[in-house]
């Protein structure tokens, strides 16, 4: 059968969009009720003043901020730290960023993967001080590598219940989530779906970093509330 014949019977796209939107909102409703099973009271307490905002975002009405514009921008600079900027994105706040005069050099993935663990983490914190930069077309190779690492080796370790680097996995989940916000690429959203569905005992080990753990949950919550995924995927 040729392509023309197949496309003459297209899948009903409007119907697909409706089914997808319904499923995401159902998951959002489930998350609204269940997030406390992922973020324990101790974990929440350790967030200090942030706790209230995290609680409001996860338990409250569907909220999301549209960051798609960032994909069309060039490299952006920020004065605040990676942690502060990620917090703003996770809690659907705005934050100060400005166009950069010079984008950093293209990252060599081989060299990045050869870096010792601490240097790799530092490198990501530093390069993505403005986390929206992970959504730029120039960062596609890095983002694809982070997605691959999450969905192949990290997923394998979590499913097998073997040791994994919780901070690194959380950092990747957050960056992949931000990439999904900017690009509306369903694969990046689905990585967060997949990690949310992992056995709870695996996710419990991520509580070791309450901030990054809460942030990815908040980003996930926003992604679930975001409309129009399929229209963006088909552009």
């Amino acid at each position: 059968m040729d392509l023309e014949t197949v496309l003459s019977r297209p899948v009903q796209l409007d119907c697909c969009e409706g089914i997808l939107r319904g499923a995401l909102l159902t998951r959002r409703a489930e998350l609204r009720k269940s997030w406390r099973r992922f973020i324990s009271p101790e974990c929440l307490a350790s967030l200090g003043a942030l706790a209230k905002e995290v609680e409001t975002l996860l338990s409250g009405e569907d909220a999301f901020r549209d960051w798609r514009f960032a994909g069309a921008f060039g490299w952006m600079d920020c004065d605040a730290s990676f942690a502060d900027n990620l917090r703003a994105i996770a809690l659907a706040h705005n934050f100060e960023h400005r166009p950069s005069d010079a984008a950093p050099a293209q990252l060599c993935l081989g060299a990045f993967n050869r870096l010792p663990r601490d240097e790799r983490t530092e490198f990501l914190y530093d390069r993505y001080r403005c986390p929206l930069n992970i959504g730029l077309p120039s960062e596609t190779d890095v983002a694809e590598e982070l997605l691959r690492q999450l969905m192949v080796p990290d997923r394998g370790k979590l499913e097998a219940g073997t040791e994994f680097d919780a901070e690194m996995v959380l950092l990747k989940l957050n960056l992949v989530g931000v990439r999904a916000m900017v690009t509306r690429d369903l694969r990046y959203l689905d990585a967060l779906n997949y990690f949310y569905e992992l056995p709870r005992r695996s996710l419990m080990r991520m509580r070791s970093n309450p901030r990054l753990h809460s942030f990815w949950m908040c980003i996930y919550s926003q992604l679930l509330s975001t409309p129009g995924w399929q229209k963006c995927a088909l552009r």
Binding site: M1, L13, L20, R187
Partner: protein, 238 residues
């Protein structure tokens, strides 16, 4: 043309061999591989069970005997990328290997075949590489199908595509049924691919990976979405 079916089980290998042995000018071998770290007992128990499940075990036994007698059934006791297995494969001097085993191919195994190893990938290349590509195609409103291409050690990155066949998902109630149907197309499409390779006017298509993306295992949430889409289109098609 000398062709070897690289199979995870003897019955699986013969399912494909049966389809291609009728092609003129094709000599077929069945390479039964040792998959994973199964013990011999487990391996042979599975072989017997899978033969019995086919309900045609008498025919299968006769075919196995026929192939074995002519030296065309090769049972590998070591993993495929073990040096002894590679040596055995090389000694067959095959032109093409047909992937039908749940193994990862490394360069020495691939280069043991003159032209390479063909894979019937249940997605349309170059756009859909990796896992769950049938599901991802449906989710993104794109046609499903199978691509037969020569593999390389990467994930669906082999540069030479032999053929692509678009196979509609309409009429299949769920992902499992659809994927079973697509997987079962392998023997027929391998035959078509071999016919194409032997024809004078055939030219390979390029698998330009910059035109596609790698996909990963799909979450339960999205799989449910795809099942709902299939159920809806099933009703529409009906």
């Amino acid at each position: 043309m000398r062709v070897a079916v690289i199979a995870g089980s003897i019955s699986g290998g013969f399912r494909i061999a049966r389809e291609i042995e009728c092609l003129p000018g094709v000599e077929v071998f069945v390479l039964a591989c040792s998959v994973g770290k199964r013990s011999r007992l487990l391996r042979w128990t599975r072989e017997v069970l899978s033969a019995l499940k086919s309900f045609k075990w008498v025919t299968l036994a006769a075919r196995v005997y026929g192939y074995a007698r002519r030296g065309r059934l090769i049972i590998l006791h070591h993993p495929l990328d073990d040096a002894t297995s590679i040596e055995r494969v090389r000694s067959l001097q095959c032109d093409v290997g047909l992937h039908a085993a749940n193994v990862i191919y490394r360069e020495p195994v691939i280069s043991a075949f003159r032209l390479g190893i063909l894979n019937a990938h249940i997605g349309i290349l170059p756009k859909y590489r990796g896992r769950c590509v049938a599901e991802w195609s449906i989710l993104q409103g794109e046609p499903t199908g199978v691509t037969v291409f020569f593999i390389d050690p990467g994930i669906d990155t082999g540069a030479r595509i032999v053929l692509r066949e678009f196979i509609p998902s309409n009429g299949w109630r769920n992902v499992r049924a659809l994927k079973n149907m697509l997987f079962r197309c392998d023997a027929r499409l391998y035959r078509k691919a071999l016919e194409a390779l032997m024809s004078a006017e055939f030219s390979l298509e390029s698998n330009d990976i910059s035109k596609g993306q790698r996909y990963y295992v799909m979450s339960r949430l999205f799989t449910k979405v795809v099942n709902k889409i299939l159920a809806t289109t099933h009703i529409v098609a009906g």
